[in-house]
Symmetry: C2
Subunit: 253 residues, 2 copies
């Protein structure tokens, strides 16, 4: 008998330690939608019984997912699937700051909500074959802060995942659009990658942002991913580089 399998499928003699297998199993359940954003997971003892391991091992697995902001533990209540709060960002996903260093948390205004097919470039980014005419939803928006247009915001979403998204839901969404993705479509963004470019404002951008054509702008292209690296959103933000900049922090303590 070269290996021992518990009924739950965890492999005691496998290459990965049990707590990492627990982590993967929980991630799989999340990807399968068994536990949706905001919902409570079974208690640690229940999970221990289900997976056939000690509570200690469950805690180690959950601990890693909590450190990654995938799960949230609340003493006395339980363990929950992390949500994007409606009122503030779960991550510091908004990196726009003004010249004084103050973080800008702008509101949004929806200009258009249209359905179409992905361009080859968009399909490639969203993980679809370039010639598949993948149905997408396009959102054209502007970011507004204290009455000023801070940035243009263009979003491309695969229609297959976001079929239930409506213009009204986008308009009603408060600070964080990703909360609407969760509530309306069950899509949970857990990772983003951004490419920051500098460019000169096009005539259209200049008009929207009320700046001069050819003045410097920052263009931020973001890919957002859900569980298991599945790409779910491509967005482009353009803003006046003479008024605003982009800020990041790296490293701990």
């Amino acid at each position: 008998m070269p290996q021992k399998n518990t009924p739950a499928g965890l492999d005691v003699s496998g290459p990965d330690p049990l707590y990492k297998q627990v982590e993967q199993r929980i991630l799989q359940c999340l990807a399968d939608g068994e536990w949706k954003p905001g919902e409570q997971l079974p208690t640690e003892s229940q999970l221990a019984e289900r997976f056939g391991v000690a509570v200690f091992t469950i805690r180690a697995g959950i601990g890693e997912l909590a450190a990654s902001n995938i799960l949230v533990r609340k003493q006395g209540k339980g363990t929950f699937v992390a949500r994007h709060s409606r009122l503030r960002q779960r991550y510091q996903f908004s990196h726009i700051h003004d010249a004084a260093g103050r973080q800008i948390l702008p509101g949004r205004e929806l200009l258009s909500f249209t359905k179409g097919t992905a361009t080859a470039a968009e399909a490639a980014r969203l993980g679809f074959p370039p010639d598949a005419r993948t149905p997408v939803i396009r959102l054209a928006m502007i970011s507004v802060d204290e009455g000023k247009t801070v940035a243009t915001l263009d979003i491309v979403l695969p229609a297959r995942l976001f079929g239930s998204l409506t213009a009204a839901a986008v308009r009603n969404a408060q600070e964080n659009l990703y909360a609407a993705y969760q509530d309306e479509c069950g899509v949970n963004v857990i990772r983003v990658e951004e490419h920051i470019h500098a460019a000169l404002a096009s005539a259209a951008e200049a008009k929207t942002l009320k700046i001069r054509t050819g003045s410097p702008v920052l263009r931020v292209e973001r890919m957002a991913y859900t569980y298991r690296g599945l790409p779910v959103e491509f967005r482009t933000r353009v803003f006046d580089a003479t008024q605003y900049h982009y800020r990041t922090v790296e490293g701990g303590i």
Copy 2:
């Protein structure tokens, strides 16, 4: 007796749990230079005896510092103070990518190494009073990749911490300048904050980067910090935005 103190000073009845106190004590030892970059810490059992707690508690404290890349644990060997490798970045501190998405890991060329006093703005960033005429070291460099000048790189260092730094040490430093800071001056960078601006190339920048004056550039201003939030370096990098861009990733798994 409202509280109980072990001889090592850990407060059992304090507001913070023991493992967090262990974390703080270890951080203090690092800040005091008791264990220098690359050196081995006492074993977990020794630390447990020293602090008067169980090995489990020491492991919890060390675990948090290891997760922050402050310490490195090696099975069978011991726990070590993390180092900036000479050959590659400990963090993905280099965020410059080309149009094809390839990360640029450029070499450096030292143009000048001078000593002077901080401007008011520099003093403010480095945590000194603006009128103190704080002595600083200035490094003017260019980043070079495959024979091309990728970026200008200007660094300001407080002379008080970097008195032992020499132009030769900077020239000899391989990929990672922060390794030289460790080896030559015992300064360990553990956190950086970057502000990314877009601008139009000045005449001087254009000449160095071999681009046209007024073409778009990205200007990245970085503050680097060591233990306990002490600022130790201010650097500015400027590069051609038509060839290169800045990339970040956020979130887990």
